[in-house]
Amino acid sequence: MKFARIATTTAATAALALGLAACSGSDSSDGAATSGASAPAASGPKYAGQTLTVWRLGDSNPAAQKYMDELNAAFEKESGAKVNLEWIPWPQVNDKFTAAAAGGAGPDVTEIGNDQVPLWQSQEALSPITPLLQAGDQAEIPKNLLGLETIDGEVYAVPWGAGSRAVLYRKDWFKDLGIEVPKTWDEVVAAAKKIQEKKGKDVDGFAFNGGSDANHLLAAFAWSEGGEYAVKEGDKWVGKVTDPAFKAGFATYTGLVTDGLSGKSRLTQNTVDIRKRFANDKVGMYLTAGWDLPGIEEDSKGKLKGDKLAFFPLPAKSGGEAPSFFGGNDITVWGGAKNKEMAADYVKLATNKEWAGRYASEGGLLPIYPEALAKLKDDPAQAPFAAAFAKAKAFPADPNWTEANETKAVLQNAARSVIEGKATADEALAKANGEIEEILNQ
C-alpha cells in the first residue's frame, strides 16, 4: 500500500494547500501626502518631480490616446508634474473603483460616469470640489448639468462631456440592400429583418443588450412610452416598472429577441461585446454613441469607418423620437489622492473650454459649454445626438441605483426569464419592482 499512502498524503497536502489560499488586502497609508503648496515656487514649476495618476475609462484608442498625451504634456509644462495615465475598460470600472476605495492603489484623478457619482460619493471615495466650479471657465457650466454631481450642497465631479445615444447603423449595408433610414419603430424592425435575411442568420439586425449597461437600451423604450423605473414619494422610492407604460417598453425590449431581431444566445452581452460583433460584421444596428467609433475602426482593422457608418435617432414605437439616457462623463479628484491640490489643478485644466471642448469633439461626446453645444445643431453628424440630448432623461438619482442597474442586474434578469419563457412579463416585472424598491430604499 505504499503507493496508496503516497497518493493519499499528496492529496491531503494538496487539500491543505488549497485551503490556505487567502487573499491579502493591502492597507494603504496616505499619511505621506506631500503638500504641493509648500514646494519652493522659486525653483521652477509648482509640482516639479511629482507624479499624478489619472484613470481614463474605456478602451484606449489612437484618437483618445493622442488627446490624453497632449493634455498631459500641457499639464506637465504648466505644473512640472509627470502624469501616469491608465485606461480602465468600462465593464471593470466598478470593480476597480471598489478595489481602489478599499485601500488598494487608486488614482489621483479619475474619469467617472455621471450616474456613478452618487454611488461613489456615498462610499466616501470622492472629495468635494465645489470651489473649482465657482471660478474661471467652469463657472459657465450650466447648473442643470450638475444634478447628479451635487450632493448635500457640495459638488463632487465636473462634467467633462455629455453623451446621448442614437442608433449606429451600417450605412454600406443599408445602401446595398436599398433600405431607407428608419423613421418609425416598424421600419427599424423591417430593416433588421432584411439585414438578417441577406447577411446571415447569426447577424443581429438590431442588437439586444442584456449586460451591465442594458438599461440604456431598455430605458429608451420604456421612457418613450411614458414609463419610469421608480419615483420618489416622500422619502421612499416607489417602483414603477409594473405600470402599463413601462411594460409596453419592456415588451419592445424583450421583443428584440423573441421577434428574432437579435440572437437568443447572446442575452448577457453588453455594449462592449456588441461593439466587437459590430466590428466583425455581425450586427446591423445598435444603440450607442460616437465614442464607439474609434474602437470599431480598430477592431475591424480599419475597414469600418467614415461613410460606412452613420447614426439616426431611435424612433419611439409610439411615434416621434425616443428619449435617450442622459449620459455623460465627469472628471474628478479621487478621495485617496496623494496631493489633492495638484489633482484639482489637473481637473481644472482638463475641464476648461479648450480641453473639455476637444474632449467632446475628439471623443464623440457633446460639449458641456452652452455656446459649443449650440454650434452642434448645424453639424449633420452630431444632429441625432443633439436631438436626443434635448429629450434626455436620467435614472433614479440614488446611490443604490448602480446596485439595481448593474450589480443585481434586476431588469436584465427579468428580461431573460421572460425571453426564455420561464415567467410572464407581469410576473417578472412584479418581482423586479419589489427588488428595485428593496434596493433603492435600503
Binding site: 442568420k201 447569426d202 448577457t268
Partner: protein, 338 residues
Amino acid sequence: MTNTSTVARGGGASPAPGRRRHAPQRPAKARGLSPRAVPYVLLAPGLLVIAGLLLYPLGQMIVISFQKVGIPQINGKKPATWEGWDNYTRVLDNEIFWSSLRNTLVFAAVTVALTLVLGTAVGTLLNRLSKKMSTFVVIGIMSAWAVPPVAQGVIWRWLFDADAGMINWALNLLPDGLSELLFGRSDWTGEPWLNDAFTIYLVLIVCVLWSSFPFVAVSVLAGLKGIPAELYEAARVDGATPWRIFRKITFPLLKPVFSVLTILSIIWDFKVFSQLYVLMGGPTNREAFNLSIFSFAEAFRSPPKMGVGAAIAVILTLILLVVTAVYIRQIVKTEDLR
C-alpha cells in the same frame, strides 16, 4: 493514518535511550525540553503558519459575517457596526440563496459521483495497459488536470459557443435521423448552451469532470499497483468474473484511497468558482449562481457588502464541515482509514 504508532512513540512510556547511555546526574534534560513537549515544539511552526494564514482569516470571516462592512469600514473612515443575525436573515430570506444552494448541492453530488466512477474506470484501464501506453495516457490526462481553472472555463465556453462552437457544429454533422432519435431535434445551429442555468450546469459538469477525473485515475492506479498480484491469480484460478474480482478484491483494498478521493472531490466541487464565472460570462445570470459566486457577488461587487458575503461563506463552510464530518465519521466507524 499512522495515528497509533505516533501516539506510542511520542507519549506514555518513552524508552528514552539517552537515559540509559548517560549518567542520571547529567543535566541533559534540565535545560532541554521534556520528551513530552518535543512533538508540540516541532509542530509549532506549522501550526503557527496555519493559524496565521487559515485560522485568523476564518475567525475574521465569522466576525465580519455579524457586521456591516462596506468600503468606508474597510478604509477606516467609519467603524464596523454590529448587526447581530441581520446578515444571516437577509441571506436566508433571499431566494437566490436557495437556488444557489440547490445548484451547489446537486452539482457537487453529480460531479463527485461521475468523477469517481470515470476516474476509477480509467485507473483500472491504465493498470492493464502496457507500461509505455500507460505512461502515454497518464501524461495525456494529467495535462487536462494541469489546465488552470480559468483556462478550462474558456476552453469549454468556446467549445459550446452558440455560433462558432464545435459542439453545435458536431451535433449538426450527426445524421438527421440519429440526432432526431437521440435528442428529438436535428438542427443545432445557434443553440444557446450558456443562457439557461440547467445547460450552464451541464457544460460545467463536463468541464469539471474533464479536469478532475485524471487525478482520481492516477491515484487509483497508484493504489492498484500496491495490490499483490497473487490475490488476482488466486481469484482467477477460482474462476471469478472480472466484475466479481473488482467487487471482492480491488474495491475493498482500495477503500482508503476512495475515502480520501471522495472527501477531496466533495471539497473541490463545492468550491467551484472560476469555471462557472467564465462560463456564465460574469455574475449576471443569478439563477445559475452557486454559493461561491453568490458570496463573491455580494461581497465584492459594488457596493460591496462584505458582511452578507461573509455570512454566505460561513454557511458554505458549515455545510462542507457537516458533509465531511459525517463522511469521516463513517470511515472511522468502519475503520477504513488506517
